[in-house]
């Protein structure tokens, strides 16, 4: 009986993360169209309708557009160039989506849930080196892009894949180096420990010790490099939807859809990472394991289940807010030229993140010597 319960719990944890990422990724196509429309004084997708007898067509703010897109993608011709590498050409989009999907596994979406004598960590996989796993999965995603560029038997696609690889390397270095500061502050590679560490208070209890407070420079560097890792505007030199030829020129149908999907999934992953590392993850300000404790002594105790629900809700809200912010950036900034992106990565983000590590170490020494 307890084995079945354990399996069910494990399945539930994975299913929550999986469905959260997948659904959010699918919804992002709609969010992107609607948000950009509202920013640009337009209305956006509002035509796809389902006709219900007696009620007439319902459009539901254009929410059927992702559905219509999926049907269109599946119904399209699945073209493969004659000289393309048979296996890699089909495998590449799968790799892209797979690593974007599994990356979210080590991001905690809540504290430990205690039900019926069990302790359930609210995280798909509890890993001691969760942050390294996350970082590795994020880096592996670029292999799909490179495979796509290589296997298409198209020189433009190959160049696009190489641009993606070059961009990814210069971004990943900055991501890794900027995370170092966070790891130094919270002293753990476990994502759950890092999020718990952000529950401590700062400045006499008024300010939560979130990563954005303790590591403001790393936050900016990580977010910039993270957006570069999603290969979206302003760092969309690998694909350049409207004018540059990118790594997925030869792709059509659902395989193309998977590449487009992978970008959105990566956006969700980067938003989840930023939330966990810098925005306190599932932490609600002033909410402890027993209830709210405000710095002027006011307290309000809450049952355990309510606290856990509040924490999961806070995590979801923060991730959605981060996604909104990343979409805002995507629809505001123009594209970096290829050499500008390289210069920013190697001469801007990388040295600054190294400086951040040195500064953080210095401050930590001072703090401990106090």
């Amino acid at each position: 009986m307890s084995v079945v319960a354990d399996l069910g719990i494990a399945f539930g944890r994975v299913a929550f993360v999986m469905l959260f990422v997948l659904n959010l990724g699918g919804l992002l196509t709609w969010v992107e169209r609607k948000q950009s429309a509202i920013m640009q004084d337009r209305i956006g997708a509002n035509r796809a309708a389902i006709t219900i007898p007696l009620l007439g067509p319902i459009t539901l703010l254009g929410l059927f557009h992702p559905l219509a897109d999926a049907i269109k993608m599946l119904a399209k011709e699945d073209f493969r160039p004659a000289r393309a590498d048979r296996f890699l050409f089909g495998f590449a989009p799968f790799v892209s989506v797979f690593f974007a999907l599994v990356a979210f596994a080590s991001i905690p979406f809540g504290d430990t849930l205690r039900v019926a004598g069990r302790e359930i960590p609210l995280q798909a996989v509890t890993l001691n080196v969760g942050i390294l796993y996350l970082f590795a999965m994020l880096s592996l995603g670029v292999y799909g892009v490179m495979m796509a560029g290589w296997s298409s038997a198209n020189n433009f696609a190959l160049l696009g894949g190489q641009r993606a690889a070059a961009l990814m390397i210069s971004a990943e270095i900055a991501i890794g180096a900027s995370i170092m500061g966070v790891i130094m502050i919270y002293g753990s590679l476990n994502m759950q420990d890092i999020v718990r560490g952000q529950g401590r208070s700062f400045l006499g209890g008024w300010l939560p010790a979130w990563g954005i407070v303790t590591q403001p420079l790393a936050f900016v560097l990580f977010l910039t490099a993270g957006i570069a890792a999603t290969k979206r505007i302003p760092f969309d030199t690998p694909e350049g939807e409207s004018e540059i030829i990118g790594y997925f020129v030869e792709y059509s149908g659902m395989k193309f859809g998977m590449f487009a999907m992978a970008d959105f999934l990566e956006t969700v992953v980067i938003a989840g990472m930023t939330t966990s590392l810098f925005l306190g993850g599932w932490q609600v300000p002033y909410l402890g394991p027993e209830g709210f404790h405000l710095p002027w002594g006011w307290a309000w105790s809450l049952p355990h289940l309510v606290i856990v629900l509040l924490q999961v809700g806070a995590f979801v809200v923060k991730v959605c807010g981060m996604i909104f912010f990343m979409m805002l950036i995507r629809w505001t900034l123009p594209r970096f030229r290829y050499d500008q992106a390289m210069r920013l990565g190697w001469l801007g983000l990388f040295p600054l993140s190294i400086a951040n590590i040195v500064l953080t170490g210095f401050l930590l020494l001072l703090w401990d010597a106090r």
Binding site: I38, W331, T332
Partner: protein, 180 residues
């Protein structure tokens, strides 16, 4: 060398983000106000075209129509003025005897090839009988073939002038090669 803050990219990024975010929240507020009925206009400045049309000027030169007499026959007397003046050579007329001896001729065929027409309006100015006008307000004529762009006398006679607001009153004609 003075320090130009604009060289420090981040500040400019934030001013740009503030601009677009302000647009987003302002328009979002207007959309919500429209949805709950507190406002008559939404946050978008776009016109939802097939359902809404922007008002056209009465001077707009749109799809031609042939004006009828009181008895319903075409007012055109097949004088070939419009065919002669047309710079695009898109009007094709075959004249016929009119049963009424007071009226000289009547067009047997009156075709306009809208694929060639440049909408200059010379035909309207040249017409001595005020028999052809370009006031239907219809701008949507499309076809899958060149043949479908040729509008016959019957099609042109069936059209009405646009309303006072410039909106077309007669339905958009469907070319023969396009089954609705």
């Amino acid at each position: 060398m003075t320090l130009d803050l604009r060289r420090f990219y981040l500040l400019e990024v934030f001013s740009g983000l503030a601009l677009t975010a302000a647009h987003f929240f302002r328009n979002m507020g207007r959309h919500v106000a429209f949805a709950v009925g507190a406002s008559r206009t939404g946050g978008a400045v776009t016109i939802q075209y097939p359902e809404e049309r922007r008002p056209y000027s009465p001077r707009l030169r749109s799809l031609h129509r042939l004006v009828r007499r009181e008895d319903g026959s075409p007012r055109c007397v097949a004088c070939m003025m419009c065919e002669t003046v047309c710079p695009a050579h898109c009007i094709y007329i075959i004249a016929d005897e009119h049963p009424n001896p007071e009226i000289e001729k009547v067009p047997r065929r009156f075709d306009i090839d809208l694929g060639k027409c440049v909408f200059c309006g010379y035909c309207v100015e040249a017409c001595p009988e005020d028999a052809i006008r370009m006031d239907t307000g219809i701008l949507e004529f499309s076809s899958y073939s060149r043949g479908g762009m040729i509008y016959s006398k019957e099609m042109l006679l069936s059209l009405e002038a646009a309303g006072a607001d410039g909106r077309p009153r007669s339905p958009i004609p469907v070319p023969a090669d396009r089954k609705a």
